[in-house]
């Protein structure tokens, strides 16, 4: 009887634990999931927690079913067959190589949404005949093309531009039709034809990876400026959201260069999908680093060495499901690393955390030792003062504090963010004192009789004794320093000096609150704390227990 009751209690406890941890870890789960979403998934009509499966179709072009998945509503659903008929009758020219049925189905859904937006309620109420009449009026080439554009995924290759250190720009292969700007080394897999996206001329690329696992384009271009001066190479394209990977190689001045990582064909808007350049002075600026580094991997006479010639090789390799997922997951992390200088910010944060923890622990323990165990005139008065200052809101001293640091010449340096820790925080001194009150004095007395100096007593006896409470202080200080927001906001103007938490905030405003990037940055910032907390929480709780919150 008793055992049964106990078991059901335990079961209930586990259920509560699971429910509670789901509730409380939800923000974190949301954060992780959002960090793996592409931009088009961020703002959807219906909430989706999980990021969508990335395409990795072997053939392109293809039709994407994602775009209009919520387009049909209760209003249009009964008339879908009719709308489909109107779309079919409109005979929208369908490019070869894709399934006509698929296109019609997507066009129908997209057109249903268009009609819902355009037709007045009176038409919907008037019945099928009226709807059909109005729908036919709307089924113009322009309207259908707008819908088709949003579901038709095709890789369009645009200009390849280079730029010199003197800001000279050149479009490589200008004057040659886009389809012939590169030599197609894998004609069995890839086919290029000239085309136009609205006003932008480009090459339409269709490929089929069932005929080979990669395709390759290469060309030796003549440059208008000396290749020594080459700063960056930039490829404009409209990707097909197919997540295959583009590798870039460049031959110049007798050496072969390789891009340090491939670019995935993510999203489907025109963009400079690749920017490649060698490591250089620009890496040390706080510019947004859109570029991928080119690394020299080989040197020899077989490579292009003419100072006015540049050989570019683009190779696209097929991604399997795993690779597509991996590319998608790390996509935002790479973008985050490009947008903000995570490593510099992290280093700054670590520097601040280490200094803060060390100084806080040393100064607080020293003061606590003196206040609890040593006797000197004015001691009790000082302790009362200390307790009183604990109650002063930070806002009171915010402004004069700033003026003082500024007068001392420490504005826009990291000093105000750590030197304050050397002045012993009253709250921690108080905690340590509470703890020391419960520790017998015998050890110190013995040491003193043996001729130990006060400093040695502090260093060899008191400090080890205070360990449990110091652990608590260390963790609190860590959290405070790691998450410090107000400090950098007030004292730091130079972006290069930002610690991580503030850098993340600045980054989030800079990217106009793009949730995916913010979440990727947050993830980077949160991970160390979670790991530390996971391993340290036991000591932390024990430390507080031993201190005992006694007034």
């Amino acid at each position: 009887m008793q055992a049964g009751k106990y078991r059901s209690l335990r079961l209930g406890a586990y259920l509560l634990l699971i429910a509670g941890s789901l509730l409380f870890s939800f923000p974190f789960i949301w954060m992780v999931m959002t960090s793996a979403k592409v931009d088009s998934e961020l703002f959807t009509e219906k909430f989706e927690l999980l990021p969508g499966t990335p395409n990795h179709k072997p053939r392109s072009p293809f039709i994407d079913h994602h775009e209009y998945r919520y387009a049909v509503t209760d209003l249009t659903r009964p008339h879908l067959a009719l709308i489909g008929k109107v779309v079919r009758d409109a005979k929208y020219p369908i490019p070869p190589g894709i399934d006509e049925k698929e296109v019609i189905a997507e066009l129908t859904r997209g057109f249903a949404r268009k009609l819902e937006q355009v037709l007045p309620p009176s038409v919907w109420e008037a019945g099928p005949a009226a709807i059909e009449r109005e729908a036919r009026k709307q089924a113009t080439f322009e309207n259908l093309r707008a819908i088709f554009d949003r579901v038709y995924r095709i890789l369009m290759i645009g200009q390849l531009r280079i730029r010199s250190n003197q800001f000279q720009e050149q479009e490589l292969g200008a004057g040659v039709p886009f389809s012939q700007r590169f030599v197609n080394k894998t004609p069995e897999v890839l086919r290029l034809v000239d085309g136009k996206d609205r006003a932008t001329p480009c090459a339409y690329a269709s490929y089929d990876f069932s005929k080979g696992d990669h395709w390759r384009l290469e060309q030796t271009f003549t440059t208008s400026f000396d290749v020594h001066e080459l700063q960056r190479l930039r490829l404009y394209a409209r990707p097909d959201d197919n997540w295959h990977r583009l590798y870039c190689h460049v031959e110049k001045l007798g050496a072969l260069y390789e891009a340090v990582r491939p670019t995935a064909f993510a999203n489907y808007d025109w963009a400079a999908i690749g920017q490649w350049q060698e490591p250089g002075p620009e890496d040390d600026t706080n510019k947004i680093k859109f570029w991928t580094h080119l690394k020299e991997i080989d040197r020899g006479p077989q490579y292009e060495s003419d100072p006015h010639k540049l050989k570019v090789i683009f190779e696209t390799r097929r991604s399997n499901a795993l690779q597509a997922w991996w590319s998608k997951i790390n996509n935002n992390f790479y973008r985050t690393l490009a947008f903000m200088d995570v490593w510099r910010y992290t280093a700054t944060s670590l520097y601040l955390v280490i200094l803060n923890i060390t100084l806080t622990m040393l100064s607080c323990s020293l003061v606590a030792y003196s206040i609890t165990r040593l006797r000197w005139p004015g001691r009790d008065f000082c302790f009362i003062l200390m307790l009183a200052t604990m109650m002063i809101p930070a806002q009171v001293t915010l402004i004069p504090g700033f003026l003082i640091w500024k007068t001392l010449g420490f504005y826009n340096t990291l000093v105000p963010l750590w030197l304050g820790a050397a002045f012993a925080a009253p709250f921690y001194v108080f905690l340590l004192r509470q703890y020391l009150k419960g520790v017998p004095k015998d050890l110190e007395d013995a040491a003193y009789i043996d001729g130990c100096s006060y400093f040695r007593i502090y260093w060899h006896i008191m400090l080890p004794l205070m360990k449990p409470t110091l652990a608590v202080i260390a963790i609190w200080t860590f959290m405070g320093a790691w998450n410090n927001f107000m400090g950098p906001l007030i004292y730091i103007a130079d972006q290069r000096l930002y610690p991580l938490a503030f850098g993340l905030f600045a980054f989030s405003t800079m990217t106009s609150s793009n949730p995916a990037l913010t979440m990727a940055g947050s993830f980077i910032m949160t991970m160390p704390i979670i790991i530390i907390f996971f391993f340290a929480q036991r000591y932390f709780i024990e430390g507080i227990t031993l201190t005992g919150m006694k007034a």
């Binding site: 920017q275 004015g378 200390m386 109650m391 806002q395 012993a424 913010t518």
Partner: protein, 666 residues
């Protein structure tokens, strides 16, 4: 800079039959038309909530300024000495805004709908959720990447009948930003050279080229900024838009409309009371739209406050400037005096007696002076004691007491950071208690938030009890429960804004499942504070750790003894756990209440103090005064009153605690 125009969705106009004789959609040209169109373009779902919004007077970038200028109003007299916010023309404009909101079912409904708006590709104007909006040329810029199938046009903002009678058919207003060189800048000349360069033809050329490159690298057409130098502006707009064959036709006409409005565009009054005027006009708008006050009442009250600020600024400064040398000497003397006093108190019995006599109290410790006062063995400790305390002493003298005295002094001064501080006596305090109606309001808001303290304590205690059980993988569970306290602020703000969304948010979806109507949360005057409290509960993990520590500290013997006596779990909790936890309850209570009085960040980022000042907390008001209006002295006075409140609360709790807090070992 920028200017404003009316954007409208042509498809939606056609759908509502708002077309001219040729069947082309016709934008509203008058107030009456705008009001009528807004009504005709708005659609509701079966619950009466807005599904498609014709027009919102506050969505986009219009403000009361726009409507006043549509009506020929002004906000300042021409000599800049009088605030004319309460003028009839402005009242008419605000009434017009309120009437539109009323026509559409109330401002609450509009705001609830607006809160579901998203940005970028799902901008409500692009997705056909909003038919008309007044916005700047920069909104146009935002449309370029996403509006492949958006069928829209831009027209000049309509005007009131009064203006049409005067022959005015359109209006607009321009905002912008400016370069400034602080008067104490180290390299004034270099700053000036930089500004001159940025405003030169070459500077603008480089600026636009860089922007063009950035937007082209992301794949869309570039719309250049409006440039406040007419000649350069014409050059740039020709180069990138008008004479640029690659510029999409669809955006050419809208761009031209924005450009054509520049000659008749207004600018906001340039006045030292600009921040206050801006803030007050916004508050008055909210009050009128939410139906808290009539438009004329709201504007009159706002005007009075702006006028007071204006008078303060235009009158010659009164009060004597502070002499800083005197302050430092006084501070030095004070430190020396206090140190000496404390020293003699501990070492000289005679001094202690005399001092006690001054305060008419008997010295509590008659025991005499500190060991070592007469020299000898204990003296050795003195030196080391003081030396070891030196870190705190130094910090206290430089960053503790000094700033505190400074801020006390400032609280009696008129200080705006730019001009030297002037002594005005108790003026700041008097204003706080008599004429600033936002002080009691913010205080009331803060007090209401205190409800969250016991709630938070209960939730975190429940969590701690759960996690204190002997279960497997306790470290993992604890970490999971603690996660919300770790997630960076920036991330959790985004999450909560979305959770509280009245239309698509999780809370209201859950309530709808239970058949309850969901409130507007952050957009509602009544529910904004509860929303922030709920948000605070989620982060209860921090307190949970303190409780866990307390629970670990309770000896198991008590429970064993109780179990043998047959006490139930509930009795054990009531008669062992709770009493043993009282020190922790006390700690969490004190810390929680102190925390309540300092609430700031969440309101600052999530609600901006609104709606209608319902989340304007005490520290937020303080912050506004210090950093937005430049009333530094006033802010210091507020900070000291805050200190007194916190101090009083803590002392009261300490006194009360003797009755209920149980200390195990003593």
């Amino acid at each position: 800079m920028d200017d404003r125009a009316l954007m409208y969705n042509k498809d939606m106009f056609r759908r509502a039959g708002l077309v001219d004789a040729r069947g082309e959609p016709a934008p509203p040209r008058t107030w009456e038309q705008l009001r009528d169109y807004a009504k005709r373009l708005t659609q509701y779902d079966e619950n009466g909530n807005i599904k498609v919004l014709g027009f919102s007077p506050t969505y986009g970038n219009a403000w009361l300024y726009m409507y006043s200028w549509m009506n020929g109003g002004e906000f300042m007299s021409t000599d800049g000495r009088t605030c004319t916010l309460g003028d009839t023309l402005n009242v008419e404009a605000l009434t017009f805004m309120r009437d539109i909101a009323r026509d559409l079912g109330g401002y609450d409904k509009i705001k609830a709908f607006e809160s579901s708006f998203m940005t970028a590709a799902l901008d409500p104007f692009i997705t056909g959720k909003v038919a008309m909006r007044i916005d700047t040329v920069y909104a146009l810029k935002g449309f370029v990447p996403y509006s492949r199938d958006l069928n829209f046009a831009v027209a000049p903002p309509p005007v009131s009948a009064r203006q049409i009678a005067k022959g005015q058919t359109a209006t607009s207003w321009s905002g912008g930003w400016a370069y400034a060189i602080p008067y104490n800048a180290r390299h004034k000349q270099a700053g000036w050279e930089f500004i001159r360069f940025m405003q030169s033809d070459e500077g603008w050329r480089l600026y636009c080229e860089a922007e063009r490159e950035a937007s082209e690298s992301q794949g869309y057409a570039y719309i250049p900024p409006m440039i406040p130098i007419i000649r350069v502006n014409e050059q740039i707009s020709r180069k990138y838009v008008l004479d640029n064959p690659a510029f999409p036709e669809k955006f050419k006409n809208p761009y031209k409309v924005f450009m054509s409005l520049l000659p008749i565009s207004h600018f906001r009054p340039v006045t030292p009371a600009g921040q206050v005027l801006w803030h007050r006009h916004d508050i008055a708008t909210q009050e009128a739209l939410y139906g808290k006050k009539t438009p004329s009442q709201a504007l009159d009250e706002g005007a009075a406050i702006v006028q007071r600020e204006l008078d303060r600024l235009t009158q010659p400064p009164h009060g004597r400037p502070i002499r800083w040398s005197l302050f430092f000497v006084a501070y030095g003397l004070l430190i020396a005096g206090t140190a000496g006093g404390a020293y003699f108190w501990d070492t000289h019995m005679g001094f202690r007696r005399r001092l006690a006599a001054v305060f008419r109290r008997r010295p509590e410790t008659a025991g005499g002076t500190l060991e070592g006062s007469g020299g000898g063995y204990f003296r050795a400790q003195w030196k080391w004691g003081v030396l070891f305390t030196a870190p705190w002493l130094l910090g206290f003298v430089v960053f503790g007491a000094g700033p505190m005295l400074y801020s006390i002094l400032m609280s009696f001064c008129d200080y705006d950071v730019i001009n030297p501080a002037r002594w005005i006596g108790l003026e700041n305090y008097r204003r706080m208690f008599t004429s600033d109606e936002l002080v009691p309001k913010s205080f009331y808001n803060t007090l209401l938030m205190a409800i969250g303290v016991p709630l938070g304590m209960t939730v975190s205690l429940a969590m701690a009890l759960l996690l204190n059980m002997r279960v497997r993988g306790v470290a993992l569970w604890r970490t999971l429960f603690y996660l919300p306290a770790i997630v960076p602020f920036v991330a959790s703000i985004m999450l909560w804004t979305w959770l509280f969304n009245p239309v698509g948010g999780v809370f209201n979806k859950a309530l709808a499942l239970l058949g309850l109507p969901g409130p507007n949360w952050l957009q509602s005057e009544t529910w904004s504070k509860p929303a922030l409290i709920i948000m605070g509960l989620w982060g209860a993990g921090g307190q949970m750790l303190i409780w866990l520590a307390g629970l670990k500290g309770i000896s198991q013997h008590y429970y064993e003894a109780a179990a043998i006596d047959g006490a139930s779990l509930r009795q054990q909790f009531r008669y062992i756990t709770l009493p043993m936890l009282t020190p922790y309850i006390f700690f969490n209570l004190v810390m929680g209440l102190i925390g309540v009085f300092q609430i700031f960040e969440s309101a600052y980022i999530m609600t901006k103090g609104g709606p209608v000042n319902s989340t304007l907390f005490y520290v937020y008001h303080l912050f506004n005064n210090a950093f937005r209006y430049g009333h530094m002295g006033y802010a210091c006075a507020m900070a000291w009153i805050l200190f007194l409140i916190i101090m009083a609360l803590t002392v009261i709790q300490l006194k009360l605690s003797r009755r209920w807090v149980h200390y195990d070992s003593e």
